[in-house]
């Protein structure tokens, strides 16, 4: 877009679906930041009040308002990157204008540094290198997989390689059968549940959208993957983009949708290129566009990049963001199935959920259901990172024992260390430690331990780590990412961060008396869990809750150090 003037950029985007984000990105890419002139032009072109537009732009971490803007490095200081020197790398790069960013989803090979449109990874300035996402290793237990089944095949990311290894077979057979309802039935039978964190049954969601009469309907692929410690969607999109696209087309066919969006987090610029290439290939091959494969389905997919806001992974916030509104979560009900994109019926599904669909349609619902252990259905990709020998993505049967994954598949803690704790659901499930590490990986078992499996990010902390410090960095993340809509979370995440800060930290506040400290932290946690307007605020206090449960002595010491 370089060299294009305001009018050309506006002309290109203003009549496209969901135009605000791509138009802002067009200006941001051209100028490196969003100038006052750019915002005035966008405001006039899209008829968005200037004050609203200004406020909304400032919501997104990565939209720079002033030079050097995009070209200044952003260094990940997330919980995993801090273990290997994220803070030090940031300091070393300060002279280049570097600023911190929250977990950028490269925890399997830290530390990511984002500059312009490229992410480099490496633990020191010298080691920084632009690299593609690592492929998942062959399944260490030799167990059957669903989404990783073909991902390691040669050329899988291109349409030829994808089709050679069975790709688009499911779509062809579904379209030629002529029964969209059959797709829904198979997905229901598979017992596939949302892999984005909430675990809602996918078949039931699709049926609800199919039953809605209003249209046009949309299918939104949630590729925001902002949860610290989660990087599974990235590897799926990077190495098997057509699986995600095929899953979206199948969803569109099942529910009668004509518009598809992939809402991709800003921190995955290389993925944006891969996805667009795959969409272009699929369009070229007649798999997207009008009358797909002669089956009467019209469906197009648009990639929309976020701009740095974890909350935009929450579906209501995501939809507001797509629509160009301030990205606060929406009050529910109504749900997106009836009132989604532009208030019309919408499927919102996670990348992994959608990528599971083609193999399910291909091999049948029973096949997928039986991949789970015991009563559990299907598989889950776990992103494993931190103090572990072999970090990476592992597809496990649901119900798989955590100790087997940690110690046998991933090699356990680094030499000479033991595993002290893990996080669950990225960090949204808080910590598990001690005997609770014996859990199996399924919601019922993990929830029985006061946590949740969620999107399947697990960070490992060995016995050398100070868990109060880890908890502080997790809570800092929630405070940084709280959207500010509701009181319990907006104030609560801030107060909890202040209470977890070390005594000499400028950000420290709160009682120095242990009982008072605990009561404040518990009261805040209770009110956040019970009354927050979305999952962020409900999940954040699991950090403090589990910290106090597993490490009461360390907490006492922490509070005592503040009393003086």
């Amino acid at each position: 877009m370089a060299g294009q003037n305001n009018e050309q950029l506006i002309e290109h985007w203003k009549d496209e679906p969901a135009p605000l984000l791509p138009l802002l990105h067009a200006f941001h890419d051209r100028d490196g930041h969003l100038s006052e002139d750019a915002l005035r032009a966008v405001s006039a072109a899209l008829r968005i009040p200037l004050a609203d537009l200004y406020g909304t732009v400032t919501f997104y971490h990565h939209f720079a308002r002033f030079p050097p803007g995009m070209s200044a490095p952003r260094v990940c200081t997330g919980p995993v990157c801090r273990l290997v020197g994220g803070t030090e790398l940031l300091e070393a790069m300060r002279k280049d204008g570097a600023t911190p960013m929250a977990c950028a989803g490269r925890c399997d090979e830290p530390i990511p540094v984002l500059t312009d449109h490229a992410v480099s990874v490496g633990a020191t300035v010298e080691a920084l290198q632009e690299r593609p996402s690592p492929l998942p290793v062959a399944n260490p237990g030799g167990l059957p997989e669903c989404v990783f089944r073909s991902i390691r095949k040669e050329g899988r990311a291109g349409i030829a390689g994808y089709q050679k290894s069975g790709g688009y077979r499911a779509l062809r057979s579904a379209l030629s059968s002529g029964f969209p309802a059959a797709v829904i039935e198979t997905v229901e039978r598979s017992e596939l549940a949302g892999r984005g964190g909430a675990g809602f049954p996918t078949g039931r969601k699709w049926r609800a959208v199919a039953n809605e009469e209003r249209g046009p309907k949309s299918v939104v692929c949630n590729a925001d993957e902002g949860e610290p410690g989660c990087f599974k969607d990235r590897v799926l999109m990077d190495h098997d983009p057509h699986a995600v696209i095929e899953g979206m087309i199948l969803a569109a066919y099942a529910v009668g949708a004509s518009r598809g969006f992939i809402y991709l987090r800003y921190e995955y610029p290389q993925t944006a290129v891969i996805l667009q290439r795959a969409i272009d290939e699929a369009t070229e091959a007649g798999l997207l566009g009008d009358d797909i494969l002669g089956g009467g389905l019209d469906f197009r997919i648009y990639v929309r990049r976020g701009a740095g806001a974890y909350i935009c992974g929450e579906e209501g916030s995501l939809l507001n963001s797509l629509e160009g509104k301030h990205p606060f979560p929406r009050e529910r009900p109504p749900y997106p199935v009836s009132h989604g994109f532009e208030d019309l019926p919408t499927v919102v599904n996670n990348v992994e959920t959608l990528a599971s669909v083609p193999p399910i349609i291909d091999r049948g619902g029973d096949w997928y259901r039986k991949l789970g252990l015991g009563d559990h259905a299907g598989t889950k990709v776990i992103s494993l990172s931190g103090d572990i020998q072999r970090p990476g993505n592992y597809e496990v049967p649901i119900g798989f024992p955590l100790p087997t994954l940690l110690n046998e598949w991933a090699g356990g803690a680094p030499e000479g260390r033991t595993i002290q704790a893990v996080t669950m659901a990225g960090i949204s499930g808080g910590f598990l430690a001690g005997d609770d590490l014996e859990t199996t990986l399924d919601e019922s078992s993990v929830r029985a331990r006061g946590s949740m499996l969620g999107a399947g990010g697990i960070m490992v902390f060995d016995d050398s780590r100070d868990m109060v410090d880890v908890a502080h960095s997790c809570m800092e993340f929630f405070a940084h990412e709280s959207c500010g809509k509701c009181f319990p979370c907006r104030i609560g995440t801030q107060r909890l961060t202040e209470r977890l800060a070390e005594a000499d930290d400028v950000g420290a506040a709160g009682p120095g008396d242990r009982a008072d400290w605990a009561r404040e932290v518990e009261d805040i946690g209770e009110v956040m869990k019970a009354t927050s307007a979305c999952g962020l605020g409900m999940a954040a206090p699991l950090i403090t809750e589990s910290l106090m449960r597993y490490w009461p002595d360390r907490v006492a010491e922490h509070v005592a150090s503040r009393a003086s």
Binding site: A51, I524, T531
Partner: protein
């Protein structure tokens, strides 16, 4: 179909399709606290004080946003809910410089203080950083004081400006605890799209947005009295409450139940009242003498001269040569009398008012 009901604290309450739990509860004895709620605006669900328990639902729900469904069983004041509310009010108090503000600040300005009393929340718990920042050089407008240290991010001002006034002048900058109410590019209000209707001031529950004109009278002695009247400036006919202390007019607040305006006003009705007790105001008739200057005169002298002038004009040029314009700043009674005087006195319809918007 039979009438639909929900049960609120054991009482069966009929409701209309689309009504929220909070609206239905308004017809019972339940006293559900709110801070981000303004009945004129779309439900927002920010403060979470209005949460209630619904049988069969795991977490409490925001009653301001949740619609009634037939057969719902709702509890509005369980111990757990009241505990959550107390904690929330304590938390909100902790982000502000002070809880108590002068009632002249604005119509809703006492809401936080009232809840702090109700929940015994002046406990000084949850101390920490305060939220919100004001511009130090923000003194350019005489109407609206922006004291964002007092802001609790309820977004009522933002929403009233957009939904009620249609100005979209203010918005939300940043996120989380760093949220800041602002205008485009953090500018000044008088350089923004603001029309100074004062709606944001009227809905602000903390005095963060305050009526700078009224606050000039903080030290004027006496209790504040409210007198309901109608704004004289135009044909909309907005209801207002004039605030007085003793003989002094100290401010104007919109009447939320005004049939024409439902709490809305424009800058004229809201702020243009200084003339009433302005030092330059005439206290006696003035007559222009042969020297060309104005001289004080008695009412009889002045009326005689005016009457002679009117009659001369009518006799020389006919009754339609007379045209009267009543001032929007005159009382309604004077506007009415003017109209009678011209129509009945001169038999002409040449009469108007200066603000016939």
């Amino acid at each position: 179909m039979s009438e639909r009901h929900i049960e609120i604290d054991g009482q069966s309450v009929p409701y209309e399709e689309g009504e929220t739990l909070l609206e239905a509860a308004g017809r019972t004895d339940a006293e559900i606290p709110t801070l981000c709620y303004d009945p004129r605006l779309e439900p927002f669900g920010g403060c979470r004080l209005c949460v209630v328990e619904i049988e069969g639902s795991h977490n409490p729900v925001a009653s301001c946003a949740r619609k009634c469904e037939d057969g719902m069983v709702v509890r509005t004041a369980t111990d757990a809910l009241e505990q959550h509310r107390k904690t929330l009010v304590e938390m909100v108090c902790s982000e502000n410089r002070q809880v108590d503000v002068d009632p002249l600040s604005g119509f809703a300005s006492q809401e936080l203080a009232v809840l702090a009393d109700r929940y015994d929340a002046r406990t000084q718990r949850f101390v920490g950083r305060r939220s919100g920042q004001s511009r130090v050089d923000d003194d350019d407008n005489p109407f609206i004081l922006r004291d964002y240290d007092q802001c609790i991010s309820c977004y009522r001002c933002v929403r009233v400006c957009a939904e009620q006034e249609g100005d979209y002048a203010i918005s939300v900058k940043g996120r989380g605890f760093d949220t800041q109410i602002t205008v485009e590019f953090d500018g000044k209000l008088n350089e923004s799209a603001c029309t100074f209707c004062g709606q944001c001031v009227a809905t602000c529950p903390t005095g963060a947005l305050a009526d700078r004109k009224a606050l000039r009278h903080v030290d004027t002695p006496g209790p504040i009295e409210k007198t309901r009247t109608i704004c004289p400036y135009c044909g909309v006919g907005c209801s207002v409450d004039l605030l007085t202390k003793g003989d002094s007019l100290v401010g104007v607040q919109p009447a939320m139940d005004g049939p024409a305006n439902k709490g809305a006003l424009c800058i004229k009705g809201q702020y243009a009242y200084d003339f009433v007790q302005h030092g330059d105001r005439l206290t006696t008739p003035l007559l222009r003498g042969d020297d060309g200057e104005l001289h004080p005169a008695s009412w009889d002298e002045a009326l005689d001269v005016a009457a002679a002038g009117f009659l001369k004009a009518r006799d020389e040029h006919g009754r339609h040569s007379i045209y009267a314009i009543a001032s929007g700043r005159a009382p309604h009674e004077a506007a009415y009398t003017t109209q009678r005087f011209i129509r009945a006195g001169f038999w002409t319809n040449h009469v108007d008012n200066c603000s016939r918007a």
